[in-house]
Subunit: 251 residues, 6 copies
């Protein structure tokens, strides 16, 4: 099976390489994994505005990937920016939302999970994501690390230490039994297993989880429901001929 991990922001090639290496090391034998990054978009996604900014270019890249014959594309941001749009535009290729997948996986392992997100400003989006994922009932609370995404990896040790401290405090105060990391950059820090050990409860890495769920769903022959995510009516009914014609004006 062929799976593509799509980065919806502009990422330096070295970091793309590093992430692809991790993904390939995580894959089952028999899974071919590629990584593609948009060439225009936000540097990182830390607000609703940047979330939306990422969608147009990413949608085009996703549609391109479907044409290239991938079995599944992973939308590589824990906020699932534009997941419903990506699913409207694809039919033969499964599109996996890394964010909602991580939450549903957390729901498989305990009674009440928490999300550790990057910034206070994103807390409300995590509740909405859990609602859209369908598992709002098990989301106990959301806390924020408040380290900028692009600095998470600057001092991996310090980041990890802050994560452990915040989660330990949370466990003392609230009846939480699973943690889900709410950011792909946190996922690619590759600290979830160490965090699981440090905290004594499972910690879900959204980056790795998205890959394993994509493999599982492709293995199951399942794709997102087109009754749920219908092709835009202008395309469906031939009013426009291509994706590009849906956008008027511009250059």
């Amino acid at each position: 099976m062929k799976i593509v991990y799509v980065v919806p922001g502009v990422m330096p090639p070295a970091e793309q390489e590093r992430r692809l290496g991790l993904l390939r090391s995580w894959a089952f034998p028999g899974s071919e994994v590629d990584l593609k990054s948009v060439t225009e978009g936000p540097a990182s996604i830390e607000s609703c505005y940047e979330d939306y900014l990422s969608i147009p270019a990413t949608a085009k890249l996703i549609v391109e990937c479907e044409k290239q014959g991938y079995d599944a594309a992973i939308l590589g941001c824990a906020g699932d920016p534009g997941l419903d749009a990506m699913r409207e535009l694809t039919e033969k290729m499964l599109v996996v939302g890394a964010g909602s997948n991580a939450l549903l996986t957390a729901a498989m392992l305990g009674h009440r999970f928490a999300i550790l997100t990057v910034d206070d400003a994103l807390i409300h989006t995590c509740y909405d994501l859990a609602y859209k994922a369908g598992c709002r009932e098990k989301l106990e609370t959301v806390i924020a690390l408040n380290i900028p995404v692009l600095e998470l990896n600057k001092d991996r040790e310090a980041t990890f230490k802050k994560m452990v401290g915040m989660c330990k405090k949370l466990l003392e105060e609230r009846n939480v039994d699973v943690i889900s990391l709410g950011c792909m950059s946190m996922g690619f820090l590759d600290v979830a297993e160490d965090l699981t050990k440090a905290l004594g409860i499972p910690c879900v890495n959204p980056s790795k989880t998205a890959l394993k769920n994509a493999e599982a769903l492709v293995g199951l022959g399942l794709k997102h429901s087109k009754r749920a995510y219908a092709t835009p009516s202008k395309l469906r009914e031939g009013t426009v001929k291509s994706l590009d014609e849906l956008y008027i004006g511009g250059k």
Copy 2:
């Protein structure tokens, strides 16, 4: 007070004119109303994809309006595309979501409302919108007219007749006591009052409601909460200097 109605899609000037005329006829004395349309974007919004496509250009236009000193901007699409982003980017000017406002207004008038949207494919987005608006509990059901947005106004009589027929059937089957029209083009058909008469229950026009609510909120001196919709952290902390720098690459 100065209010601007922002059309998040590319609209023919004549239709812009017509809508502005209606808005001004609806305004309280003392309200100055303008209408601005983006110059690039989708022709109409009938899918999640088109919803997202509309956001980048609209956000810039909204920010522009704030600089021009408007007291409030109405985001003129009943799906509230990017409302949270628009609110992240503004502080001195209120941004009103026509979609969520119509639903909260419906909630003021009865026990259980229904949304009449344009296309089956948008039904799920209406449930999500009611959840985000905070009044999901009173949303009894969503039905779709299944007439393309751009054809709603071609035969106003036929559209109205279909609306009445569908709503009457709904009232026989379900315990619904208010109807909210889920599309601005339906709103500017200006049929809500006739529908109210034909059905015997209040019918909420999202276009007119957005204007009256904007006037009310400006009159109250209220703006959206910046604790709820924080300025993107890169802007807040000066990592980038302008909105444009949040987008990398492109032409």
Copy 3:
């Protein structure tokens, strides 16, 4: 348009005058605003019992107002005492509940609001009100000032200071982004705008909000749904001839 603000308790004429003055200063040009107070009822409403005590006389006054040709009546208590009854008895005149309106307005501005009510004993009624209003999902918590209603205005400065202190503490502890004042006497203290400034999040004044929403709804030509609030069947079917005949015995 003609709007009447109805006080469902017995209020000294000077305070009636003061409140009417504020209401008129808040009105849009073109709105005629009157204030009427019942001549019998509780001095203030600080319990469910007093809430119910206020209803019979207020209902009659509201029905009287409808006959006098008002476009809308504001039920002037943040607990909406008997709102459903008032709506059962009126058809041509809109009745606005100041309590539920304030909550739905709070829902328009953020993700999670809190109510600041007057007394611990009223906390549970605030949750029920939010449920009946339809926006229970966005109500994060309710806190009480614990100053008797009739003393709120004795030392306006002290009251304001206590409000600021309690809200600041709340903002440190909970993820709240809008505050709604749960009492009309708080509303007519006219401190909401100062509170908004002091806290940095919007503070909803139920007194002013009820007026602006009434103006907006009358402007929209909308009334409460008679399918939702049916005329009592004995009146509807002519079993009794007048409101008075619904009550047997008494003097």
Copy 4:
């Protein structure tokens, strides 16, 4: 133990006698049961307005009953009019709400219950009652008999036949496994046991259930929580000396 059944409307003495006879035939040995009716109020309660009309006189009667040493009072209307107020005003005597008790009893016997109420206009109040009772989750639907309360007993046979017909239709269409009768006059028709046989699922009689629950709760030594239903603050703090002083004006 001494239990009083309080009728919150003006009821002919013969009907009072008949109901008391039924109540006494239902009581456990050792329970003394009395019935008291207000001497002023609505003839029957079929709207929110009549619901509220009944409260002031009933509250006084309930307070009187507490002074007379009853262990429990049953508020004899399935809408629980003013239950919270009655509980605010009593401390030594339990007050039981016939409406909420019937719903909680229905919840003990199956997964999803329905309420059979008297009039379409009361359907929404049944949902609110289930919410206040705390068992909204198990309320599947509400249907209305649409026979005036005062005519229910005119042709007992015809009423029973209509009830059976409506419930059988409901069971074919919905996954309902318990029925609760939403009106005391239905309860005193004493048809619940026949209905249980005719339908093959339990049918809850609110009149009889209120009595048995009152006996059970008195037997348990339990009363309503004063932390939940605080004495009105003016009484609690001595600002007024008596119930009457809470009401100003009037003759």
Copy 5:
């Protein structure tokens, strides 16, 4: 009426005697109460595993009780282990779940109750129980005493003191107005009335409540709904002749 209290664990005869004595002292005149204990099963139920272990032998005992002509059986564990199974296997005899009954009784007395359970490990089962009972909305929180069930009665004084301390702390922190004891051994400590006095809010004893509710329901002629709890299809359709044949293998 004849009621049997069924202990789903292996209990020393002296303790059986003691509990039966309490039950009989609590019964209404006219109620005959017996107690039966399984002869195999867990010593106490403090985990989901022990909960399930208790079911097969208890189910057989319950079926035996039905044959012996009891009107009602009380399933004597606050977790309601296998209640739905017991109800599937009985038709003429009511089966009462002590756990869900206590919660619904708590719901009758206030707005928000808490459960005091025995062990942190059982907290999540209390939330599920409230959901199955249908009153999850009123369950504010669950706290655990963390004393082993078999030691609760060793130092009754110390246990009571710990209960009071934990509940007082809870009342300071949370808006709770009723406490329900989440364990039958707590119930048979017979401290609920003292706890009610010490805390000033009602404290529900599940052991006594189960008895009083059983008496009330038998008095009402109500049994659990067979539409809700159908006889297992193999028995219903005669594929197997007896309960034993449903279990294959074993010695």
Copy 6:
């Protein structure tokens, strides 16, 4: 990785063989899959009673599997009988519930799913399962095939035809976009892919899904949370030495 599929009922060896063959054909390269069946228990699980009957022997088998070094065990019944108990008793080996996993997988693919279960009597257990899984919000409805489990495979063609007919009717009436099969025997009919084609929406096979999710979770290094599923306190604290000692009496 080593995964064991545990059948919690007594299954003929030929059927065990057939199912193991399917499982191995579905596995990723590198996954070793075994199947073990209890030697005592119900022939099939079609009631709550049979569900509970299966647990004691299955729990022992699961604990045995953990000792044998499996990485994960799949509890092979779509009702997840005793899943929480199995997780209490294991720490090094993941236990996967086939039922809850299928529902969470359905939630990944659309907005609203339905469960197709085997018998009307199991409908209510499906709602409870969705609640425990955490995705009750997305469960639109449950329908039942009403074919006995042991006859599902007698005429595979007829079973498939009935499934298609029922689901097509459902799709006409309700807004459902994913179907989950609520029974492992349905899963091992291996018709989900044909059903997906026939209906045009994804159909989730719980048998295959459990395997792929187990592989994914083992690949992720994740196990169920011991904070959520604590070891029974008697074992944890050494009051008893072995699982057997938790059960007293018996032979």
